[in-house]
Symmetry: C2
Subunit: 197 residues, 2 copies
DNA sequence: TTTGATTCAGAATGATCGTTCTGATATAAA
DNA sequence: TTTATATCAGAACGATCATTCTGAATCAAA
């Protein structure tokens, strides 16, 4: 038998993330993960300690690899709804280039599959959603600083709800253009709302 | 004459539905289901044939017991966005009276947890979402018959996306009032959109 | 009552799970 | 080379899963 190549923990995490993302936590057995990562059980348990800890590492990796690169622009000082639109566009394009219907959002999936029965994952999902809301609020208050803060907060919450709905839908539809127009139309309704008297 | 069962199949389904709804498919073991339904394994396998078939029966029961009573009004001939608002109100109130964060929507949960790896469940989820979209389209076209049909269809799709987002959020937030205002504000933006030039 | 069918509670079964262990093999320093 | 360490492939382990089976208990009809 040919000996397996040594794999860095980061590569290992990347490959595990891909598998968890596609299949979820429960449907990913250690046998599957050994096969799809190309690592040995020894390497996996040495690097993470167990399946659950590997999953948490993948959660963090997803933030760094997928969420942050697309969402950082929304969190920047001068960001407006244009950056929010760009965030949606990036994610939808990525989904189109990968698969539709596709694996959706790793965090949103974890929210329904794992979080309800695991406090650690629940906390991580909460943190992510708070981050989204604060980012959206940043963009909204730059877009229209004169709108009352409580209304902007409400709209930021609305955007988080809609985002979750988008990823949910991306697991069922093969129509990327529908996701795109949904996002754009929704942003349009937000825009007209804060522009109207 | 066959002996009368201690638990009717419908009661059995109701109790199984409750457990599946709260815990999902993978986290519900047959041991759990035997305990929570009060039925024997013999009764369960006799009535359904297996875990998966019992789950599908619960899926149908959820439509009849939860979806239809709330959504039928949206599908009626004269329905407008007022009925859509009432649909959201009913579901949010039920969630508040049950638990928040709560089990969300059985269909939406199945969509992320089961559907991606099970064609039968996938088809049932698709059917449900199509039903939602057609209902919303019915209400929208009654509300403003003069708006171009393609725009109404787009808005109906938007409503489905938002609905999925709402149930997703209801699994994380304990703030029912936030769900309520989100739904109402979103409906408001839809209303102003089809009223504006 | 007796009989035969039916449902009971729970043990048995075989598969699969996450995790640990074993013995072989490669690598690096001497 | 020799030796020590690290990593390999994969078997072994105990727990748990869905499903089937067993024998006692219950019921309907004779």
């Amino acid at each position: 038998m040919p000996r397996k190549a040594n794999i860095s923990t980061q590569d290992l995490t990347d490959r595990a993330l891909e598998h968890f993302w596609e299949n979820g936590f429960h449907a990913s057995s250690m046998d599957d993960l050994v096969k799809s990562t190309g690592a040995t059980r020894h390497a996996i348990y040495g690097a993470f300690g167990g399946k659950k800890q590997m999953f948490l590492a993948c959660f963090q990796r997803y933030q760094d690899l997928v969420v942050s690169p697309a969402f950082a622009q929304v969190e920047e000082d001068g960001a407006t709804l244009e950056q929010v639109a760009s965030y949606f566009e990036i994610q939808i394009t990525r989904a189109e280039e990968t698969a539709l219907p596709g694996p959706g959002c790793f965090v949103a999936n974890s929210a329904t599959e794992v979080a309800p029965h695991d406090t650690e994952v629940h906390a991580k999902v909460d943190t992510h959603n708070t981050r989204l809301k604060l980012g959206f609020l940043n963009a909204l208050s730059n877009e229209k600083p004169d709108v009352p803060p409580e209304e902007l907060e409400m709209l930021a919450g609305l955007l988080v709800v809609f985002t979750n709905g988008l990823w949910s839908t991306s697991r069922l539809t093969k129509d990327g253009e529908f996701l795109r127009t949904s996002a754009n139309q929704f942003l349009d309704t937000i825009r007209t709302r804060i522009t109207a008297p």
